[in-house]
């Protein structure tokens, strides 16, 4: 049950530090939304170059839970689908591989938004 906890902590923490440095050392117009977008695209590009796979092996959830892991899954899905289905796979693969995450985000997001009131 407690396998991989320490690697997950170290890798996940380090990835978050990169995000913090991006926010603190760039212009103030670099908002949390910019951080998330950079991490998704960055994760996808690193995944395509084969550089994110080792992180997943070493860090487990430390690499899959940060949003760069979402980007990695998108890229990996697209490449695997191209292997199977050719060019159409480039369009279907990414979304297929991340469908559970996207659907969960939309569904739970909607559920919570209509259940709770903001406290201000």
């Amino acid at each position: 049950m407690f396998d991989m906890i320490i690697p997950a902590f170290l890798v996940g923490g380090t990835i978050c530090v990169i995000g913090q440095l991006l926010m603190d050392l760039t212009k103030p117009s670099f908002t949390p939304a910019h951080v998330l977008v950079s991490f998704v695209s960055g994760g996808a590009i690193l995944g395509a170059l084969g550089l994110y796979e080792p992180l997943m092996k070493i860090g487990g959830a430390g690499a899959s839970i940060p949003l760069s892991g979402f980007g990695y899954s998108l890229a990996k899905g697209a490449m695997e689908a191209v292997e199977k289905r050719g060019i159409m796979g480039a369009f279907s693969g990414g979304v297929e591989a991340t469908a559970v995450g996207i659907a969960a985000a939309v569904f739970f997001g909607y559920l919570m938004s209509v259940t709770f009131k903001p406290k201000g």
Partner: protein, 335 residues
């Protein structure tokens, strides 16, 4: 024609309008702050049982304006015009308040400078002979302003250390051509000044040059010194902007001394996690309608200059990378 204007930007009133009464309503955070006791009413929460924060803000402004009338025992029918403003798009809080109060209405937008602007314009209308009594009201609300200008309140992000906290509060002042009370003796209308600050998390820095310019012109026009005033209060530069305004005035050859302060610095203390201080047009309006007027009436202050400072940008202009234009309006109040 005998102009009442003095110098370039200042008007001096021949018959200085009287502040008959004032009323302030604030949210819980402001009530817990160092000036908590000076406010007439403190709400238990920001929504006060209304269906939205926007409706709550409008109700808060109504309470403040009604409160000012009640304090002076003046009926609505005796008032010639109401002047009001707030921060929301199309100044809806003021418009909806005006719909309820149903007085001839002049809507104002001066961002956080609106209280000073309202006092200046109201005094001109009275001294010009266009009105006998004018009701000025100004509001802002933390939760309506945050989501219009910045981020949703429940978003887990870090605020910059230079960022200010929008005050939840409404202040109202009743001006009259006759009666007993502190008088507004002069006003200096500011120019829009833009020193190319683009950071929306540092509005104090964006507004400081406008405040310094207005103060500089006021002293030039009226030929007085900072020492002729018992208090000069800007509203609301916050800690960063106040330091910058003092520095700019020093470089312009004006020693601000120790009687220069800022409403945004006064309204909260360091334990309240507001970073650079308060902002929003409710801030200077409640600090003026509460603390400052009480200290004038008590004789502790004899001559006060309130310099309202506004950041005249919008969320659209900020996203398009435009810099933030600032403005400062000064009004002088004497016992």
């Amino acid at each position: 024609m005998n102009l009442k204007r003095l110098g370039n930007q200042t008007v001096v009133f021949a018959n200085p309008p009287v502040i008959l009464s004032s009323y302030s309503v604030v949210g819980p955070k402001e009530g817990q702050g160092p000036l908590g006791k000076s406010f007439d009413k403190v709400w238990k929460d920001g929504i006060n049982g209304e269906k939205s924060w926007e409706v709550a803000e409008s109700k808060m402004l109504q309470e403040a304006m009604q409160g000012a009338m009640d304090q002076a025992s003046i009926q609505k029918e005796q008032i010639d015009f109401m002047l009001a403003g707030d921060l929301l798009n199309q100044i809806i809080s003021s418009n909806f308040t005006a719909r309820q109060i149903a007085l001839p209405f002049i809507g104002l937008y001066g961002a956080c400078s609106t209280m000073a602007l309202g006092l200046a314009v109201g005094s001109m209308l009275i001294d010009g002979g266009f009105a006998k009594k004018i009701l000025v009201g100004v509001s802002s609300h933390h939760d309506t302003a945050e989501r219009q200008f910045r981020l949703p309140t429940e978003q887990g992000s870090q605020r910059a250390l230079s960022a200010q906290w929008t005050v939840t509060g409404a202040g109202s002042v009743l001006l009259s051509s006759s009666g007993v009370g502190p008088r507004i003796t002069s006003a200096t209308i500011g120019k829009v000044i833009d020193f190319a600050v683009k950071d929306v998390n540092n509005m104090g820095a964006a507004m400081a040059p406008a405040v310094a310019d207005t103060i500089l012109n006021h002293f030039q026009d009226i030929q007085l010194q900072p020492t002729d005033y018992s208090l000069i209060a800007s509203g609301d530069l916050g800690g960063v902007g106040l330091g910058l305004a003092c520095e700019l005035l020093k470089q312009s050859g004006i020693d601000t001394g120790t009687n220069f302060t800022d409403c945004g610095v006064l309204i909260y203390d360091h334990t309240q996690d507001v970073h650079a201080g308060g902002s929003g047009c409710g801030c200077s309006s409640v600090v003026f309608a509460g603390d400052i007027l009480q200290r004038i009436k008590a004789g502790e202050l004899t001559k006060v200059m309130l310099v309202g400072s506004g950041a005249l940008h919008s969320s659209t202009s900020a996203l398009q990378g435009e810099s933030i234009p600032g403005i400062g309006h000064a009004v002088v109040i004497e016992k």
